[in-house]
């Protein structure tokens, strides 16, 4: 009986010793990242369904990696100019998308009061979708300027 009690006490004492912090082995601080997680994650995958989609998605990923990610979120519009070009080339063709991009680029550089002409997007940018520039009146969506588009 005494042996059993002695063994139990010894086991308890030894296990608490092994878990207790000693002076020469300190617990390290947890590795915590304080970076604010972005809601709008980048998709760097290459779309290999066709040659054109491979080229476009590859160029998009390279542009994101070398320019956008370093430059930050500077485009006042949503979707951003690069995404606008990719979406318009997928909806139409590269030539029409190039014209749409040229127009978007000029509107981006507009210094004279562009804010009253576009509704706001939930991300804080101005909402300027591809549908409004496909030259198809049925697809054009008008939003009141005071509305916040989701």
């Amino acid at each position: 009986m005494i042996k059993i009690i002695f063994l139990f006490v010894a086991f308890f004492f030894l296990s608490s010793l092994s878990l207790a912090q000693t002076d020469w082995i300190k617990w390290d601080k947890a590795e915590e990242s304080y970076q604010i997680k972005s809601e709008y994650g980048r998709n760097y995958k290459w779309n290999r369904t066709s040659i054109s989609s491979t080229v476009l998605s590859g160029a998009q990923s390279l542009y994101y990696f070398f320019i956008s990610d370093l430059d930050g979120k500077n485009c006042p519009f949503h979707p951003s100019c690069s995404v606008f070009f990719i979406e318009s080339s997928m909806r139409t063709n590269v030539f029409k998308a190039a014209l749409m991009f040229a127009d978007r680029f000029v509107r981006d550089t507009n210094l004279f009061k562009r804010y009253p002409h576009y509704p706001k997007h939930a991300s804080g940018s101005l909402y300027d979708p591809v549908e409004n520039y496909l030259l198809n009146q049925a697809l054009v969506k008008y939003f009141p300027r005071e509305e916040i588009v989701e």
């Binding site: 014209l99 749409m100 040229a102 127009d103 000029v106 509107r107 210094l111 004279f112 054009v140 008008y142």
Partner: protein, 290 residues
């Protein structure tokens, strides 16, 4: 012994009295009249969902045309148009409310269906309520203002309205007749002649000036480089100038379309607000909530 008998008699009275009281309370609470009164209270308080439930319970035990009509009316108010139509069809014939039921049926089609279907319904006189024929003609003309077809001339259009209504609707008729749309081809041609002019025509003055400056500066750089015998640079700037010139023409046409979309949106919003204020010219029923 007499005390025991007295006590038994007293207990008997209490027990039967309680049972009798409970049965009377239960009957009164869920009687048809009580249910109708409660349902009418909910209906007049515009709690249409619960009113429909109560009226449906009433109809399980007794046929009641007013309850059935109120169900159809409430379903219309809740935008449940198909269900409203099904409920109202039972009142079309041999009912005192057949004219009102047919009007509500047309109302569900007015709000629930598109213009062509509503027009067809009126044209083929399906279940037409003769008493409210003039009301339905007004609603058809309301729909004319909200769709893309060309409008009839003003004498035909206003023939269904009285003079007060005509005065109020004249503004919307003129807005529809002459909306002030911008032509995409004109915008594109203007931008082809002078970069940015098409955008200024489409009410995008800032974009127009930016386009003009962009194309102008690139053209100047191209000419300047050619004049200074820098042919490669000259061709690069020529290419860029041509690219942004073409983009400016495209953007002007798109800007005209966006302008037109804004005109259409604001017109429809203002007109629907006006119609909501007039209950779309549908009459109010004085027998529903007294």
């Amino acid at each position: 012994m007499s005390r025991i008998k007295l006590l038994q008699f007293f207990l008997f009275l209490v027990a039967t009295g309680n049972i009798y009281a409970q049965r009377t309370a239960a009957d009164d609470l869920f009687s048809v009249n009580n249910r109708i009164a409660f349902a009418e209270y909910l209906f007049c308080a515009e709690d249409y969902l619960r009113a429909v439930v109560e009226f449906r319970e009433v109809l399980k035990s007794s046929a009641n045309d007013t309850a059935r009509f109120r169900i159809g009316y409430a379903l219309n108010k809740m935008n449940r148009y198909r269900e409203a139509e099904d409920n109202l069809k039972g009142l079309f014939f041999s009912s005192q409310l057949s004219e009102e039921a047919r009007l509500e049926f047309y109302k569900s089609n007015y709000f629930g269906k598109d213009f062509i279907d509503y027009g067809d319904l009126l044209e083929y006189n399906n279940y037409l309520p003769e008493k409210y024929h003039s009301v339905l003609l007004k609603t058809y003309h309301n729909k004319l203002l909200l769709q893309s077809r060309s409008l009839p001339d003003s004498s035909t259009f206003f023939s269904v309205y009285n003079s007060d209504e005509k005065e109020e609707l004249l503004k919307f008729y003129m807005m529809k007749k002459r909306p002030g749309y911008k032509n995409e081809t004109t915008a594109a041609l203007l931008s082809a002649v002078l970069p940015g002019a098409g955008k200024v025509y489409s009410n995008e003055t800032g974009d127009g000036i930016t386009s003009f400056l962009f194309t102008g500066i690139l053209t100047f750089l191209a000419v300047n480089n050619f004049q200074n015998d820098h042919k490669i640079r000259g061709w690069i700037f020529t290419g860029l100038a041509a690219y942004f010139y073409a983009g400016n023409i495209y953007g002007s046409a798109a800007a005209a379309q966006n302008f037109n979309a804004g005109i259409k949106f604001n017109f429809e919003k203002e007109f629907i607000l006006f119609l909501d204020g007039k209950n779309h010219f549908f009459p109010e029923y004085n027998f529903l909530c007294k």
